[in-house]
Structures are given as structure tokens and as C-alpha cells.
């Protein structure tokens, strides 16, 4: 055990081995992802309730969602999931340069997602399709319509916040990879950052049909 600690300075004193530590870190990250899922569950519940109560209002309002932009964003996020999965793979192989490059591409895709989202938000602002009491779009009114946009902005906004956080996490991981912190035996932070990014993708996979296609 002392020799392993000397060879791998990342091993904490209370873990018997690096593998145990990695296993624990992964489990901790998954538990954290579970909390994120339960966090979004609240919003999905609100969505389910109000769609159930106002089917016409939601259906009419969802016609004003930009399906093309939403679909493009879906492809963007799915591809970014691929690149981050590849980044983890190459990190495990010890190839730092590919890891950094793939992480950078992932972050770029995240930025692209936010830009496209920004266009959508701008359009909604201009039209007056805003949440709650700020809703003043004359083209459509009725029960449930402003609630659709309230939930739209809340859910995509919270999701966007998670994209930003994810980009920050991946940037930090990329910096560490560029510094040479990772090797064949230790690449846990890349994996954990990737898990967070995949969660962001997972949530969007459900947000897209719920707001754009239904």
C-alpha cells in the first residue's frame, strides 16, 4: 500500500486502493446525477399536470416552438455526447492530446447549443411569448397558453444553466488533461465530467419532444 501511494499521489489515505477510490467517486457522481434527475422531476411533474389540464392551450402554444432549431440542438447535444464519450476513451488510453481536443469540441458544441437557444429566446421575447404575467403575445391567448411558456422558459432555462455548468466542468477537466494530470491508471475526473455532460444530454432528449413536438 505505501508503494502504491508513492506511485500514485492521487490515492487518498482512507481508500485501500486506487480502484476502490475510483469506484467510490463514480458511485458518488451517479448519486449526484440521481439528485439532478429528482430536481428536474419537479418541473416534469408541473409540465405533466398542466399539459393534462390544458391540452388545447398547450397544443396551440407549442406551434410557436421552432422545431428546426430544437432538432438541430438535439443533434448538437447528441454529437457532443459522442465526443465526450470518445474523450473518456482516449483518456483511459493515456492519449492526453486527443482527450483535450475532444473535450474542446464538446465544449464548442455546448456553446453552439447555447447560441441556438439564444436565437429561440430572442424570438420569443420579441413576439411577447414570455412567462406568467409578462405574456403579451396577441396571436394566441387562452387558458394554459402562458403556462406553456412559463414551463418552457423554466425548464429550458434550468437546462441551459446546467449546460453552462457542464461546460465549466469540462473546461477544468480539459485544463488538467492538458497539464498531463491523467494517465492510463487515473482518469476519473474525465469520466465524472463526462457523466455530468451525458445527463445534460439526457434531459434535453426528453425536453425536445415535450416542448417542440407535442
Amino acid at each position: 500500500m505505501p508503494t502504491e501511494a508513492a506511485a500514485t499521489p492521487q490515492l487518498a489515505h482512507h481508500f485501500p486502493s486506487l480502484e476502490a477510490q475510483e469506484h467510490a467517486a463514480r458511485m458518488g457522481m451517479w448519486l449526484f446525477l440521481a439528485t439532478e434527475i429528482l430536481l428536474f422531476t419537479v418541473l416534469f411533474t408541473a409540465y405533466a399536470v398542466y399539459r393534462f389540464l390544458f391540452p388545447t392551450g398547450f397544443e396551440d402554444a407549442s406551434k410557436f416552438a421552432h422545431v428546426a432549431l430544437g432538432a438541430t440542438n438535439t443533434v448538437v447535444l447528441i454529437t457532443s455526447s459522442l465526443t465526450v464519450a470518445l474523450a473518456i476513451y482516449y483518456a483511459r488510453q493515456g492519449e492526453s492530446r486527443k482527450t483535450v481536443a475532444l473535450l474542446a469540441v464538446t465544449i464548442a458544441f455546448g456553446a453552439a447549443f447555447l447560441v441556438l437557444k439564444g436565437f429561440e429566446y430572442h424570438d420569443h421575447f420579441v413576439e411577447g411569448q414570455l412567462p406568467g404575467r409578462y405574456y403579451h403575445f396577441e396571436g394566441l391567448s387562452g387558458p394554459g397558453v402562458s403556462m406553456y411558456f412559463t414551463l418552457y422558459f423554466l425548464m429550458t432555462g434550468l437546462h441551459g444553466l446546467h449546460v453552462v455548468v457542464g461546460m465549466g466542468v469540462l473546461t477544468w477537466v480539459a485544463v488538467r488533461a492538458a497539464r498531463g494530470d491523467f494517465s492510463r491508471s487515473y482518469s476519473t475526473p474525465v469520466e465524472l465530467g463526462g457523466l455530468y455532460w451525458h445527463l445534460v444530454d439526457l434531459i434535453w432528449i426528453f425536453l425536445f419532444p415535450l416542448f417542440y413536438l407535442l
Binding site: 482512507h14 458518488g28 428536474f40 422531476t41
Partner: protein, 532 residues
Amino acid sequence: MTYNSPNYLNAEKGLRSWFLTLDHKRIAVMYLVLVVAAFALGGFFAMLIRLELLTPGPTIMDAMTYNRMFTLHGVIMIFLFMIPAIPSIFGNFLLPLMLGAEDVAFPRINLFTVYLYLIGAAIAVWGMIQGGTFYTPYSTTTVTTVAPVLLGAFILGMGSVLTGLNFIVTIHTLRAPGLTWMRLPLFVWAMYATSVIQVLATPVLGMTLLLVAVEKAFGFGIFDPARGGDPILFQHLFWFYSHPAVYIMVLPAMAVVSEVVQAFARKNIFGYKAVAFSSLGIAFVGFFVWGHHLFTSGQSTFASGIFGVLSMFVGIFTAIKVFNWTATLYKGAIHVAAPFVYFLGFLYFLMFGGLTGIALSTVSLDVHWQDTYFVVAHFHFIMVGATIMAFLAGLHYWWPKMFGRMYSERWALAAAVLVILGFNATFIPQFLLGNMGMPRRYYSYPEQFWSLNVASTAGASLLAFGFLIVLAYLVVSLVNGRVAGPNPWGSRGYEWNTPSPPSVLNFPETPTITRSAHDYQDALEGEVTHAH
């Protein structure tokens, strides 16, 4: 059992070594100080409430101030005492010792939760002094500021989630060799179940409070009927966390009691697997019953019926535990010390609190009792009666382990009796008051409720006095108490295989576990030490 390292209390000196510590034992002691301070503060507001209720009309405050008093009392007691107390103090201190580990899985996150507690507490209390409530539409339309309380509760929730996460990973990954799941102390099983609830339920509360804050600040109208919102949706979301939250409070109490009953009956638990799995059962089924808080809110009678039936199922798991703890006493060699007296109080209060809970889950009865003192008495029986008795039992049982000193047993027994009597005197009148129809959260009441309210206030004074005595002799014991050896109770629990207080390094080398915890009947001749 001594080896060459100083104990965790005096190994390093100075405030920095405490405020930046990564040692789970020091973190536990810091939580002890903070949580007891919170309990004193919550108790102070309780006494103000009881003083106000001494007379039918206004006594020492007006209605708005009274609202603040019970809000402060309730939120402080729940979020700053009941939820963190046993997990953050005893869970932190004992889990690594019981598992044969050097620390919890994520020590830095552990330290971080202490600061989340402090900051969340400060913001929430500061906010509540200005007034606040959670339920919509009051919370979204009131002129009082609600945001600080919501933010404070959110931060506290984060601490709770991280603690639960830490414990789950610790229990999965840091068990010593030979420590299989079926050899785990029952304390660990119940803490595991508690941590699962903490991790899965608390985010729901966080998001719900955030929605209220957003609605109040920006008028988004998620819960506002004028914009198509449903205020009852808030209640669904709030209670989806808050019902499992009561199991976050009671499961650790049951954890402590499982340990105490075995040590003080000097007998293996009756039905280890049943008790272990019933903890998981409570955690799981506890998520299915939240609608029993919405019986009179406008929820459909169909849904109320479902929730009423599901609520009764939770009682089954609690009954299993009560039966098994009692059966453990049969043919045991009972040592009547303070922890055991608190265990007896716990058992009595849990039974009556639990039975009134089952009664309340009957929709037709709850319609009469909802928002009366019957409900107040019910949850105080469980929370104060059961949980605080268990907290005190654990505090007395593990006091020598944590601080190396024995407290005065005579004072402890006297205080225990006083606390139990004072508790009964405080809350049994409240059952009667509630059944007679006295509503909760009212600062004035009709004349016919006067005498019972006076009785309740008298009881509360006795109770408070009892708690103060406990605090006094425990603090005195730190200086004057008899030095406790490694195992003053003669308990077979794994944590007693360390010096008292433990050293910074929990174990000189990782132990290998070859027996189950609390194996009194199975232990070999000469292996079992007797209490002295």
C-alpha cells in the same frame, strides 16, 4: 488497545485545525455543538409559544409575532435539529468506526456540509425573523419576505443531500474485509436507508422552494389559479419531500435504538434481517404516502383513499421493529442506565405516536383532526418523544466513546424521568385539545381550552428544565467525569474496539471482521467483557 497516537480531540490544537479539519470525528463534534445550539434556540421559541398560550387572549405578543414564533420554532427544530442531529453527529462519528474505515468516502465534502449548515441556518433564521411561510398562495402573495427562508432551506438541503451521498458511498466502498452486509450493525442499515431518502427526496424540496421564490419574485404563476396554476400542486411537491423527511428524522432514531437495546439487554437483536430490511422498507414505502397531508386540501377523494391505505402500510414496518426490540429484551440481562431509560421512553412514545398516526391516516377521522392540536401532539410524540429520546439515548451511550468521560448516572436517571414525565404533561393535553377542536397556529383560543393549555405549558417547563439538567451534567462530565475505558458498557458493537476517545488514526491497521456485531450469545467464553 492503545497505540502511539494522541486522541482526536487533542491531536492538533487551534481553531484552524478544527474549522479546516477533515477528520470525521471532529466534524461530528462540531455538528454536536451547532445542533445543540439550534435545539436550544428552537426550544426558546417553543417556550415563547407556550407562554403566549397560557391565556385565551393575547398574553405577550400579537398575532403576527406569534406566526413568526411558531415558524421559527418549527423550521429551526426540523431543519436545524431533527434532520441533521443523529446522522451528522452519530453517523459521522460512528460510521467509519463501525465499518473499520479511516474516514468517510469524501472527507472534504463532509467538511463542506458543516459550512452549508451554518450559512443556510443563518440565512433562514434571519429571514424568518422578518416572517415567512411556504404554502401557496400565502407565500407568493404575502407582503413579508419569503426569499431568505427559501434560500436558507435550499442551502440546508444541499448539506443534507451531500451527507446522505457520502454515507451511501462510504457504506458501499469502505467496509473492512470480512464485513459482509449481513454482519453490518443495525445502526448502519438504518443510516443507509436514511441516506437514500436524503439523496432522493431533498432535491424535490429544493426545486419546489425555488419555484415559489421565482413565482414570488417574477409572478410566473405556476401555482396561481388566475394564470391556470394549481396551488395544490405546490402541496403535492412539498409533501413528496416532507413526508419522507420525517423518516429521515425517525430512521436514525431507530438506528440508535437498535444499538442501545442490544447493548443494554446484552443480547443479540431478535430477528436481525427483519429489522435490517424493515429500515429499507420504511424508506421505500415512505415515498408513497405524501398525500395524507393533503386530505383536506382539495385533493380528490379517490387519491385520498389511495394515500390513506398506503399510509397504513408504513406502520407494518415500524411494528416489526417495535416487536423485535421488545422481544430482544426477553431473557436479556438488562442493565438499567440512562440510555435504557430513554429507550423505554422511546418505545412508549413511538407506539402511541405511531398509533395516532395510523388513526390520522383514516381520511374520515383526519377531516376532524386536520390542522388541530391532535396532529401537533401526534408529530411531537414521534419527533420529540421518539426521536429526541433516541438522540439522548445515543448521546449517553456514546458519550464515553466520544469524550472519554462518564457522566453522572444518578443525575442522568433523574433527568430522564423528568424529561419523560414533562413530555407526557406537555403533549397529552394537546391530544385532548385537538380532539376538542382547538386549531393549530392560533394565538388565542376560547375559554374552554384554557386549563388544558395551562397544563401543557406547565409540562413544557418541566421538559425544558429536564433538558437543561442534561446539558449541565454532560458539560460538567467533560471536566469532572470519571475517565471511561475503551468499553465501559461492555458492548459488543464494533466501535467499542477503539480507545475512548478514539485516536486520529481510527485503527492502527485495517481490522478484519470475523463475527457479527452484538453477538452476545455467540461470543466465546472470555471474549465478552462486563460493564463496570
